[in-house]
């Protein structure tokens, strides 16, 4: 148990919780924005206009090819160099995560809709459902069911990616952990184990209910 006392020294517990809040705040805002914008992107990709389609494709591929760290530097440092506009670290982080998240959500939305067989549309229409009714009762619920696990998976990836923001001066939970380990590295060289265990526990407490939820949502229909 050597080193566990580090967790209870000074404000360390509170600082870890603060860091967790930074991580969560950045992730939640980004996930929410990604969902809103991603649905638009997905809808655009389903538009029959080839120019719009190609533009969306290019956007998604560029985001995919470039590492998130590069995006973060471009947004936080690059924009300031080019335009003199100075974004705060958190704003830059949210923009980076949202650009990335929205492209992923867009592609997920597109594939969720494309995976719905055409006869689902046709049988709905032939029952006399109006377009809004067709989408509300038949198409959206099916698309959503396919989307939920993917979105939750993406969300956990976004939460993890948030750790990058310490490079632009934003202190999230992992960085707080490193600070605590480092501040005590001479007196308690084994503290790292306990600090990481606590952070793991914090992530687990957040992510486990999410994965339970997604499992429940996908299993519900017995398919």
């Amino acid at each position: 148990m050597q080193g566990i006392e580090v967790l209870f020294m000074g404000n360390n517990m509170l600082r870890l919780l603060d860091g967790l809040w930074v991580t969560l705040r950045l992730s939640l805002i980004s996930i929410a924005l990604s969902l809103v914008i991603g649905v638009f992107v997905g809808a655009l990709m389903l538009v029959k206009n080839p120019v719009v389609k190609v533009m969306c494709r290019v956007y998604i591929e560029i985001v995919r090819i470039m590492p998130q760290l590069v995006w973060l530097f471009i947004i936080f440092f690059g924009i300031t160099k080019m335009t003199k506009i100075n974004l705060s670290g958190e704003t830059a982080a949210v923009i980076m995560l949202t650009i990335w998240g929205a492209s992923e959500v867009g592609d997920l939305v597109r594939s969720a809709f494309q995976s719905i067989p055409s006869h689902q549309f046709e049988s709905g229409l032939s029952l006399g459902l109006s377009r809004p009714q067709l989408y509300f009762y038949v198409i959206f619920p099916q698309a959503l069911r396919g989307l939920v696990p993917d979105i939750i998976n993406l969300s956990t990836r976004m939460i993890k990616t948030t750790a990058l923001v310490s490079l632009i001066g934003v202190t999230e939970v992992l960085k707080v952990g490193k600070q605590i380990i480092d501040a005590n590295r001479f007196e308690f060289p084994n503290a790292a184990l306990w600090v990481y265990a606590e952070i793991f526990l914090m992530y687990f407490i957040i992510c486990f209910p999410l994965s339970l939820l997604s499992r429940k949502l996908t299993k519900k229909r017995g398919e």
Binding site: P117, H119, Q120, E122, S123, G124, L125, S126, L127, G128, L129, S130, Q133, Y137, V138, P141, Q142, R145, R221, G222, E223
Partner: protein, 253 residues
């Protein structure tokens, strides 16, 4: 009698340069069971889809009880409520129970009362032998059971006509019978005061076609080649093309 349910007047349907239906005219009377047969790609399935407004037509007109069926027009949603359609592929909504599948349209489209619709649904399910499956999801049903539910889902709308598009083509052989029996039952009109259900059926089951049809229409190349009673058509086909087509269904030793 002899009231026309469907009037098809000189319609033409093209996919690009490919003419699928060529200047075709056809009428279906109240209570009539019309079976469409013909080789693959002859346009019989496309014809059903045009009648339901799922495909636009390039010429002519289709009328249901004198009202035009026009692809893309708002009036189409009204007309479609009077046309029941069952497809070859299993098209139940996978996220809804059997009961929800059946009651969705009557509740949301026709605004009927929940009690009445549920009662009617149970009666129909009983008629097709599936009254125990009301709370099952489609994934828990066999192919034959799914198609019987799909028939019920159309029937509950009280359609003027049912369009059945190769509804047994995707089924395992042992399930074909149970579905066709349901259709035969509908054709006879075993329900008290109502007569037989008016139907247009596309099928490759020739024995079934002969049993169920009041009239057989043989399509080839987008035109009606022969039109007759089932007895005449299946035993004394008049055109060479029909003879050749029917031969493909018998083994020649």
């Amino acid at each position: 009698m002899a009231e026309h349910i469907i009037d098809i007047d000189h319609i033409t349907k093209r996919f690009g340069d490919n003419t699928i239906i060529n200047d075709l005219s056809l009428s279906v009377e109240q209570g009539e069971v019309l079976v469409l047969v013909g080789p693959s790609g002859c346009g019989k399935s496309t014809l059903l889809r045009c009648i339901n407004g799922l495909e636009p037509i390039q010429g002519g007109s289709i009328k249901l009880h004198g009202e035009p069926v026009e692809h893309g027009k708002p009036s189409l949603y009204k007309v479609r409520q009077k046309i029941g359609m069952v497809f070859q592929s299993y098209d139940l909504f996978p996220h809804m129970t059997v009961m929800k599948n059946i009651t969705l349209a009557p509740l949301k489209v026709q605004n009927r009362s929940k009690d009445e619709v549920t009662e009617k649904a149970m009666a129909l399910l009983k008629r097709v032998g599936l009254d125990g499956k009301a709370d099952s999801y489609p994934s828990e049903l066999s192919g034959g059971q799914k198609q019987r539910v799909a028939i019920v889902r159309s029937l509950i709308m009280n359609p003027d006509i049912m369009l059945l598009d190769e509804i047994t083509a995707a089924l395992d052989p042992e399930m074909v019978h149970e579905v066709l029996n349901v259709v035969l039952d509908l054709a006879k009109g075993s329900e008290t005061n109502s007569g037989g259900t008016t139907m247009m059926i596309v099928t490759h089951e020739m024995a079934f076609a002969e049993a169920v049809a009041d009239r057989v229409v043989f399509l080839d190349g987008g035109v009606i080649v022969e039109e007759d009673t089932p007895q005449e058509f299946f035993h004394h086909p008049k055109t060479e093309r029909a003879q050749r087509f029917l031969q493909t269904f018998t083994y020649s030793r």
